[in-house]
């Protein structure tokens, strides 16, 4: 291969330095830990810089640099997608984009073809290039949210921290954004890039000025490979159909699709019994059809119910209960501190911060969606910590328990808890889920101890109930020009 097969990429490549504040879920009233990181990005049409979400998540201050220019330019996040690890940055200085070449996007590169990755990994300060081949094209977990899976292309080019957000190119076009890989002890030469279908979907989603996130059907299904089951359901021996198992109550199919329905086609694409459909000449897993859709888009499902054909049209949407099982970014942790007791809504951040071994807590987290626990408990309010003080001396056994009721009133959200604690009456009785005794507090004693606890533990705000975004909001302006 000749040198510089993709042209002068340094005219498009951007070095991004981010200073982030990572919230501390164990002391949620504190600002958190300051972290600095370096990543890569590249210029695309409309004077925007594309990079990974994980390069700029929780950022308080971002600067970008370009080749041949000693200046560091402040940048802001215009759009960020945590569910597919992509972000777009703006630079306020009008000079930044002068003489920079926006990169174009290609298609999906062929297996075994050569690609080059450009970025700023460890080992030096200037642009670094690594090359490899396309090893595999498959659905993969996107580690940034740790709950979303999309198409990802595995490449053999070495990708290291600092490569994140950088373009991977072939024949002068961007065929992917480098975003994750395995550490050397686990595997070598296994790295991933976000392919152009995912990138293009993101760009299209934000073209209306708002990122609306990936949508989901909210269904689980079984491949219909067992002959007896097929006969029972009234299916022919035609290798078609999947069996609907769970219909998520909070999802868009609720009420229209039922457990036991056989899904035969989606948007008129026949579904094979191994759950694949044919799209643009190749067989892909059925979820790929929904992957390409946007919030509010419709999808047509043809089914067999009790051996009768049924067709429904579903308006696609996100499914909020799933969110607790993915990482949270750019938000201030929500909590209530009362009497030195710290209450927080259960989510992945809490699980990782406290590593609870309690079986009930882990069960509620793992089965939150599948067992529809969110129906009765939209938020699982956990007493995560007890800040020791004379008024709570005997309360440490309650650590890790889930609040069920306060003074007889069911608690379904953090706000419910805050409201109940604000009107305690003569005595506060908290019933936690399970067998333990009630947690009893004297509101007058709690009130008397407030300042002492605040001072001792440096708790400036005793609660945060809002899921406030921490990012500086983009200035309201006309949407960027379309390519």
């Amino acid at each position: 291969m000749p040198a510089r097969p993709n042209g002068p990429v340094q005219k498009s490549l951007v070095r991004i330095t981010t200073t982030a504040v990572e919230p501390d879920y164990r002391a949620p009233w504190n600002a958190g830990m300051i972290a600095r990181g370096v990543g890569a990005g590249f210029v695309i049409d409309g004077n925007r810089i594309m990079t990974n979400a994980h390069v700029v998540s929780n950022a308080r201050f971002i600067t970008v640099e370009r080749d041949g220019d000693p200046n560091k330019y402040p940048a802001t996040v215009q759009f960020i997608a945590h569910d597919c690890d992509l972000a777009l940055l703006n630079v306020s200085s009008p000079n930044f984009f002068k003489n920079m070449i926006p990169l174009q996007f290609g298609g999906i590169p062929a297996l075994e073809s050569t690609v080059s990755a450009y970025g700023f990994p460890i080992g030096g300060e200037r642009m670094s290039i690594t090359t490899g081949i396309v090893s595999r094209i498959d659905f993969n977990l996107y580690a940034h949210s740790s709950i979303d899976s999309h198409l990802a292309i595995q490449i053999s080019a070495q990708i290291n921290p600092g490569n994140s957000g950088g373009p991977v190119m072939q024949d002068g076009k961007v065929v992917g954004v480098a975003f994750q890989g395995y550490s050397g002890d686990v595997a070598q030469g296994v790295a991933y890039m976000i392919p152009t279908p995912v990138i293009k979907r993101f760009l299209q989603d934000v073209s209306d000025g708002h990122y609306d996130k990936y949508v989901d059907l909210g269904l689980t299904y079984l491949k219909l490979l067992n002959p007896a089951q097929r006969h029972f359901l009234g299916l022919k021996d035609d290798d078609r159909g999947v069996l609907i198992e769970t219909v998520v109550a909070a999802g868009p199919c609720n009420g229209q699709v039922k457990s036991g329905d056989v899904l035969l086609s989606i948007d008129n694409h026949p579904i094979a019994s191994d759950a694949t459909v044919e799209l643009e000449g190749s067989r892909v897993d059925m979820p790929e059809v929904v992957e390409r859709k946007f919030k509010g888009d419709k999808v047509k499902l043809d089914m067999l119910r009790d051996k009768q054909p049924v067709s429904v049209t579903i308006a696609l949407d996100t499914i909020p209960p799933y969110m607790i099982q993915g990482h949270a970014y750019d938000v201030r942790p929500r909590y209530v501190v009362y009497g030195g007791l710290v209450f927080q809504p259960l989510d992945l951040e809490i699980m990782e911060a406290y590593q609870p071994s309690d079986l009930r807590l882990r069960h509620f987290f793992d089965y939150f969606v599948l067992e529809q626990i969110y129906v009765d408990h939209p938020e699982i309010i956990v007493l995560t910590n007890v800040l020791p003080d004379p008024i709570n001396t005997y309360l440490s056994p309650y650590r890790g328990t889930i609040v069920d009721e306060v003074n007889g009133k069911k608690i379904k959200t953090l706000r419910d808890l805050a409201d109940a604690l604000a009107q305690p009456g003569d005595r506060l009785v908290l019933n936690m889920i399970g067998d333990g005794p009630p947690l009893v507090l004297d509101p007058k004693q709690v009130e008397a101890a407030r300042e002492r606890i605040k001072a001792r533990y440096n708790v400036q705000a005793e609660q945060n109930l809002e899921e406030q975004s921490l990012r500086a909001q983009p200035k309201p302006s006309e949407p960027p020009t379309k390519p």
């Binding site: 067992n226 002959p227 089951q229 029972f232 198992e245 079986l359 005997y394 005595r427 005794p437 004297d442």
Partner: protein, 487 residues
């Protein structure tokens, strides 16, 4: 049961006179056994051998720990000095207290051995000796000191029993199971577990052994009773106020009462404060003052100090009002539980349907995942086991599970399914394997067997005729002697 590593330079001779017997009171016990395989419940696992020591008791019987003889196929007693051997029967066994009584098939076998009497209560600070045998048959005596007497966990982990904790530099010997502990030539305890790193030995104490022997003398061995309520300390003044407790701070707060238990039948309710058990005052932490052992958790009064059928008075306060309840203690058999806590020396029930392996969930099944089963077994099953009183308050049922799938023609497409809870079969709710077997006999229209599960896939269908046709091939392919066991 821990196996202890070899340790050099530990004392082997008695330094206190009176702890060396004139005649031997020990026999070797050799056990060959095979536990059932809960993953392939039609067969047993590979045979094991265990060796231990038995203490000879009055009446031609030998006492050992239950875990020595659990799952035995053959038990043999061996005279240490002569090497003579004879078979033995397990006459009485209590898995919860970890004790078993053996009898040789010929009583004359034990002639010449002097039976051990049971020691009285042993106090903290007493010296106590572990008796072991050299390969030559010579007695090895190691001495230790009792550091604590407290309630402790026993292997089956169903409630706690009294135990002695002894600091002792014991050495590894061939007999790694059942080591008698002796004080003044009397049996003071049996080894429960030993940690060679810390040199701490936990022992089943004489009071528990005495209870076991007294109960074993009856026609039917009843077992240790339980009350069936859980409790919490009342150190928190707020909790005491909430419970309306009047007078001095004492007693424990009742957090839950098990349905159909002695406590429920006595009228105990969640929210009561129990201030006295069997005429012994209970403090805020749940301790009473034992005349011999000092502060001990009151549960000892309901286990080692009471028998099934005994009536025990409870003094309680209900919202400040003092009341006396009368509780008749009972042993709760393992089979009464929805998810039984153990199932030893009994073949597990199972039903194989076309390749699907159906069983009843038990903790014995979960323990197949090893000592760390609480983290490694399917977590949903662990959750059902732990919270069974809450999730199945009516009791009187089992939880039928589809454990794994044997690949076969009938189960094509189902091979990856495992660890599912069965709700219904052919439209009927099933609460036991027997109900499952009955429901299977009535297929749905078209000859289909439909199994509904709590978890995905939610439904599994088989063709009854096809299953029957393939039954024999399934048995031959997988070496399954019988496709079901329902006892």
């Amino acid at each position: 049961m821990s196996i202890f590593a070899a340790q050099p330079n530990a004392p082997t001779k008695s330094i206190i006179p009176g702890n060396k017997p004139k005649e031997l009171s020990l026999v070797r016990v050799n056990v060959t056994g095979q536990p059932y395989d809960y993953f392939k419940p039609w067969q047993k696992k590979a045979p094991f051998s265990k060796r231990g020591l038995g203490a000879v008791l009055q009446g031609g019987r030998v006492i050992v720990t239950a875990d020595l003889v659990a799952n035995q196929n053959y038990v043999e007693l061996e005279r240490a000095e002569s090497g003579d051997k004879i078979g033995a029967d397990v006459k009485v066994i209590d898995y919860e207290a970890n004790l078993a009584l053996l009898e040789p098939t010929d009583k004359k076998f034990l002639e010449g051995l002097s039976p051990l009497e049971l020691a009285g209560d042993t106090a903290v600070g007493d010296r106590i000796a572990a008796w072991q045998l050299e390969p030559t048959g010579a007695l090895v005596v190691t001495e230790g000191i009792v550091t604590t007497v407290q309630m402790m966990k026993y292997p089956v982990d169903l409630g706690q029993f009294l135990g002695y904790r002894i600091s002792i530099p014991m050495q590894y010997r061939e007999n790694s199971y059942t080591v008698p502990l002796v004080k003044n030539n009397k049996l003071a305890g049996l080894l429960l577990r030993f940690d060679p790193r810390t040199q701490v030995l936990d022992a089943i104490p004489a009071p528990i052994i005495a209870h076991f022997l007294k109960d074993a003398a009856k026609e039917h061995y009843a077992g240790f009773p339980s009350a069936g309520f859980s409790f919490f300390s009342t150190r928190d003044p707020q909790l005491r106020t909430f419970a309306g407790q009047t007078g001095k701070a004492a007693g424990v707060y009742v957090t839950a009462v098990e349905p159909h238990s002695p406590a429920e039948k006595a009228g105990l309710q969640a929210g009561d404060i129990v201030t006295s058990v069997g005429n012994n005052d209970v403090d805020q932490n749940g301790n009473y003052v034992d005349q011999f052992y000092g502060k001990l958790e009151f549960t000892n009064l309901l286990t080692s100090r009471a028998f099934s059928g005994d009536t025990v008075p409870l003094q309680i306060q209900r919202q400040g009002k003092p009341m006396t309840l009368s509780m008749t203690l009972e042993h709760r058999p393992a089979k009464d539980y929805v998810i039984p806590p153990y199932n030893i020396d009994q073949a597990p029930n199972y039903y194989i349907l076309g390749g699907l392996i159906l069983q009843e969930l038990s903790r014995q099944y979960l323990k197949e995942w090893g000592p760390n089963w609480q983290k490694e077994a399917p977590q949903r099953f662990v959750y059902l086991d732990r919270y069974q009183s809450e999730l199945y308050p009516e009791g009187n049922r089992r939880v039928v599970i589809m454990s794994q799938v044997l690949p076969a023609n009938n189960t094509i497409g189902y091979d990856d399914l495992a660890y599912l809870t069965v709700k219904k079969v052919n439209g009927k709710e099933v609460k036991s394997l027997a109900e499952f077997a009955e429901a299977v006999k009535q297929p749905l229209e078209g000859g289909f067997i439909k199994i509904e599960t709590e978890e995905d896939p939610k439904q599994i269908e088989l063709e009854a005729a096809s299953v029957a046709d393939e039954a024999q091939a399934l048995q031959e392919n997988y070496g399954i002697s019988s496709l079901q066991r329902l006892q």
